[in-house]
Point group: C2
Chain length 239, copies 2
């Protein structure tokens, strides 16, 4: 016997409204494009979704109103980005549900490039992200906590060498170094302020570069050399 006469739960309509915001092809395309944590302009998002600017504008307003996107006006451009990590996580989780179960067709596994290395919101994910986390834990630069990573005493030096200022990161309001479950690898990688800072340094140092029009990353030759030298971390390069 089920709650025989529970009136419609407000929690359920919250669920439904969030889902229905994502559940439109145009909005899904835009959200998907924002999933790497960058902020894009309304016009760019309109092109991503193949719709007219005024249509995109309407969608974006609804997404902001629903708390899924954050808006930052800069000059005559308006930059939209994913509002917070919860939203990113929900979208990732949704894309993990198999459209059609059973022995139907090929499981439609994600392209090799995106499994090898990508950004998740604003930090590194995929085999690169997971491998990095493992390597740092293995070298006792990080310790794996319950829901977060901790920088060891010895590890602080390593981050300083990398050019990441831990003091600054700790002052931010953001969680320092949370664990984030990777949807292709099903293992944890480093999120939070530390994860974002490390990813930023990797870009600055030219160790990784974006594959255009995708969240996938390419590990550069320099990156391969340095990651192997620093951490004995070898990154598989997809064909």
């Amino acid at each position: 016997m089920i709650g025989t006469d529970t009136s419609p739960d407000t929690r359920d309509i919250a669920l439904a409204s969030a889902a229905s915001l994502i559940g439109d092809a145009s909005r899904a395309a835009m959200l998907s494009a924002l999933l790497d944590g960058r902020a894009l302009t309304a016009g760019e998002l309109a092109r991503v979704a193949w719709i007219a600017p005024q249509t995109a504008s309407g969608h974006l307003a609804r997404l902001v109103d629903g708390g899924l996107l954050a808006l930052e006006a800069r000059g005559r451009h308006r930059y939209y980005r994913i509002a917070n990590a919860d939203v990113a996580h929900a979208i990732e989780a949704l894309s993990a549900v198999t459209p059609r179960p059973g022995p139907r067709l090929t499981p439609n596994s994600p392209p090799a490039a995106i499994r090898a290395a990508r950004t998740c919101y604003d930090h590194l994910a995929g085999q690169l992200g997971v491998g990095l986390a493992d390597a740092l834990v293995g070298r006792q630069i990080l310790a794996r906590g319950d829901r977060e990573f901790v920088v060891t005493a010895a590890g602080a030096g390593w981050f300083a060498e990398l050019g990441v200022d831990l003091q600054v990161l700790r002052q931010s309001k953001r969680k320092f170094a949370t664990t984030c479950l990777d949807w292709t690898e099903r293992r944890h990688h480093i999120a939070g302020a530390l994860g974002a800072a490390v990813a930023a340094r990797f870009f600055e140092l030219g160790w990784v570069a974006r594959l255009e029009g995708s969240r996938a990353l390419r590990v550069t030759v320099a990156g391969r050399v340095e990651l192997d030298r620093e951490l004995r971390l070898s990154v598989h390069v997809p064909a």
Copy 2:
């Protein structure tokens, strides 16, 4: 510059279609009612969502077709349940996105009962689930792996005493003991075959009981006594 002319990605429409299936008030109510892993009949689900049976039937067919629900016909009843853990996880993640950000209204925190103890798909969650996982790890009955829990040599005896046959569980096709991130506690609890078996034993032993019409659980007096005796685990009882 964004992927200037990437044609509409099939991955995006998969995301959109999954989300739009959840993004209807009636379907959300039904899915929410099924989140504890039970199988309910079409009629029950119609009452849950306050719609006519024929309307529910249409919704349910679409959910099955979309791979979100599994269907089991038994006599003249048809039982629907959540298709797999990925779907349950996506729904949980979606309900974690705050409908309205910022200092708008009350953060609308989940009711105390549901934070204290509930089922997640088919295993224990909330403070009870997280506390249980912590206690088992603390007593070295379980070891916390990267994406799963492992039963220690000493721990096997404890599960035998509880009445959980690990041999049988290991033969199932299902993952043995995965970690599942709890959306209220933001910490891991025990999912997979082991999580389900432990939850089932807790019900059988009368340690927990369902609060009717909800996923929330009540820890019985017997359960409190035994959990404290076995694991020094004290469960907070909400007012």
